[in-house]
């Protein structure tokens, strides 16, 4: 658990999402290594699911293809263990929907994840009120749980999500699904992030829509960390590893 928090010490981590097993197992490993090479601080590893309701077109395509190719949680764990072996210092957070975890068995899933280098979980369709058992099992295995807050979250929910989140809170920048955006609702993000920070002392990382240097520039003024997803996955899909490297370099520059 310690290493995710360590990434927030004296810096604002860039958290990079990619899809495991997409467009092939090899390519997703190359994606991970490219991200790390140019300074990704934390990796968020997508585990494919047939019905990704929180995702926009880019990440939907990745889920769909990986499911069709028969990528299973066991394949994903193989991928994460290879990444961990080479880069033990980089925290790995597994992001998926609840059904693959539920069907695997929550306890078995946590144990397998731990054995294969996973440090945290983000499960967008599992709000805190449904997550008591899962959080307990994850924490007992030594894995953090990170929950999400949104522009629509009220004070009561901010407190609840903060209680359930280890290390940091994932703030969803807009009412909507994942995907690159030209502009983000900056004023709303800023006021909701400062509201969250006035209620809790948990770190707050902002994601959804982030894809450019100017985005990370603005966000790093008030967020504790920044998450990028679709912009990476789009390049991952076309095996553009140089593109991934230059994207991450620019986003890092924005953070300064």
């Amino acid at each position: 658990m310690a290493d995710i928090s360590a990434s927030f010490q004296n810096k604002k981590p860039l958290i990079c999402y990619f899809m495991a097993g997409y467009p092939s197992i090899e390519d997703s490993l190359k994606t991970a290594f490219s991200l790390i090479e140019v300074g990704a601080d934390i990796l968020e590893v997508g585990l494919p699911f047939s019905d990704p309701v929180a995702d926009g077109p880019t990440i939907q395509v990745a889920h769909e293809k990986a499911v069709k190719d028969g990528i299973t949680p066991l394949d994903v764990f193989n991928i994460t263990s290879k990444i961990k072996e080479k880069h033990p210092e980089i925290p790995l957070i597994l992001m998926t929907y609840y059904n693959p975890i539920f069907k695997f068995g929550e306890k078995d899933f946590c144990e397998k994840a731990k054995e294969n280098g996973i440090d945290g979980f983000i499960v967008p369709d599992l709000p805190p009120e449904e997550a008591s058992n899962f959080k307990k099992l994850a924490n007992e295995t030594g894995i953090s749980t990170i929950f999400l807050l949104a522009p629509t979250s009220n004070e009561e929910r901010i407190k609840l999500v903060s209680d359930f989140s280890d290390d940091f809170i994932y703030y969803v920048s807009l009412t909507g699904i994942t995907g690159e955006r030209d502009k983000l609702p900056w004023e709303e993000i800023k006021s909701q992030v400062s509201r969250i920070k006035s209620i809790t002392d948990k770190k707050v990382a902002v994601g959804f829509g982030v894809s450019k240097k100017e985005h990370t520039q603005i966000l790093s003024e008030f967020a504790d960390g920044i998450i990028v997803g679709s912009a990476v996955v789009k390049l991952q899909g076309s095996r553009d590893f140089n593109g991934i490297k230059s994207l991450v370099k620019q986003l890092k520059e924005g953070i300064g």
């Binding site: 019905d51 693959p100 369709d125 449904e130 807050l149 629509t152 929910r157 009412t175």
Partner: protein
């Protein structure tokens, strides 16, 4: 003991809950709170009852199907004629209720998903009636198969969004409707078409549909002076079935029989029977039974009836199954067609393919009972929408048509 589900967390036993992204949770909480107030508000109830009666055509008839009863030679068979409602199916009970609810929530835009188009048409109808903006999500495959319903929705002023993701079927339309809702939640109410999804939707839809069972109960007592031995309804998501079952749940002598779509047969894996051929999982906001593989990936379904072609079932049915209060059987495509032909020939009523599943299993139940017993079949929709499809099927499968007609002659007194 009286039946009191869902509990305060939105669960029916171990099923139900609220499994959706954080952005939507405050909207679900608001809906839950406002619905509890509105439900007991006299004005809302009066308005709802007014439109059900004056606009949709309630109460519907409970019809004694005497020729079908004679042909089968068992218990007396009654049909609850939801097919006579405006728009041709029970769906309007829910859409009128939810559109009135939307008005009370102060929202001006509604969205819905649709498979064959029945719920889409019904939602577009209610939206037109109350002047709300309406967007209906429909899978591309379904939109091609049901081009006429796409046009119908447009006539009614709705915008139809064709969904090209996933398998381009009902499940994918639900995914896309959820994505719209997560984006526009502040202005938009999601009119879910069946008794499923996150709490409080399964409860709201059940409450609006339970007018079916309430009327049936009063009508059968008036006609027969007693409760029926069994009530039978088809189950996709399960809204017509829960509407029929719910008012009978505490009447333990009334058998509740749900009929799932077995498609080409459970053993082929090509079916839409989540309870009989699926396992417990979490999708579309709820814990229930789903058709999925060992890794929790949701699988393709098949049914001749588009309205039953969904890989999950409402959580209350999952609970009624596990508690043993209701029984869930299946009917294949071919059995459904047998029901379709049988009711058309004996009563001059062409049932929807969905309802045909209930017809054939209701008939099977009646056969096992005595002539003083009573079986009620919920005729959830009319079959006009399916006539083209059935014709095309029999044109390409004349052997099946012939076989079914011979079976009707040999097994029933027609």
């Amino acid at each position: 003991m009286t039946y009191q589900f869902p509990d305060e967390k939105g669960y029916f036993g171990e099923f139900g809950g609220k499994f959706l992204p954080e952005t939507l949770i405050p909207a679900l909480e608001e809906l839950e709170e406002k619905y509890e107030q509105i439900k007991n508000d006299g004005d809302f109830q009066r308005e709802f009852i007014y439109y059900l009666r004056e606009y949709a055509g309630r109460p519907t008839i409970l019809y004694y199907a005497h020729r079908l009863t004679e042909a089968v030679g068992g218990a007396k068979i009654y049909l609850k004629r939801e097919d006579l409602l405006h728009t041709g199916a029970h769906k309007i009970n829910n859409t009128l209720g939810q559109v009135l609810l939307t008005k009370k929530l102060g929202k001006k835009r509604i969205i819905a998903e649709t498979g064959a188009g029945q719920h889409g048409v019904s939602t577009a109808t209610a939206a037109a009636l109350f002047g709300l903006e309406c967007v209906v999500y429909m899978g591309e495959v379904d939109a091609e198969r049901q081009a006429l319903n796409v046009f119908r929705m447009k006539l009614l002023g709705a915008k139809v969004e064709i969904v090209k993701s996933g398998n381009r079927l009902l499940k994918d339309a639900v995914n896309e409707a959820l994505r719209d809702w997560v984006t526009n939640v502040r202005t938009t109410h999601y009119v879910i078409g069946s008794a499923l999804g996150p709490h409080p939707f399964p409860k709201i839809v059940r409450d609006f549909q339970s007018v079916i069972g309430k009327e049936t109960k009063e009508q059968i007592i008036e006609i027969e002076g007693k409760l029926p031995n069994a009530v039978v309804a088809c189950v996709g998501g399960g809204s017509n079935a829960i509407g029929m079952f719910y008012p009978f749940i505490n009447d333990e002598n009334v058998q509740l029989i749900g009929v799932e779509a077995a498609g080409y047969g459970l053993e082929t894996g090509q079916h839409a029977a989540s309870i009989n051929g699926g396992s417990v999982g979490v999708l579309h906001g709820m814990k229930s039974y789903f058709i999925q593989n060992q890794w929790g990936q949701i699988e393709d379904t098949h049914s001749i009836s588009a309205g039953l072609d969904y890989p999950g079932v409402g959580p209350e049915h999952a609970y009624l199954k596990d508690s043993g209060r209701a029984e869930y059987v299946t009917a294949t495509d071919e059995e459904a067609l047998e029901g379709f032909l049988l009711l058309s020939l004996t009563e001059g009523i062409i049932p929807a393919l969905e309802s045909s599943h209930a017809v054939i299993k209701g008939v099977e139940k009646a056969k096992q009972l005595n002539k003083d017993d009573v079986v009620v079949i919920n005729l959830s929709g009319r079959g006009d929408k399916d006539v083209n499809q059935v014709k095309a099927f029999f044109d390409t499968n004349p052997d099946i048509y012939k076989k079914l007609l011979e079976k009707l002659k040999s097994e029933y007194r027609i």
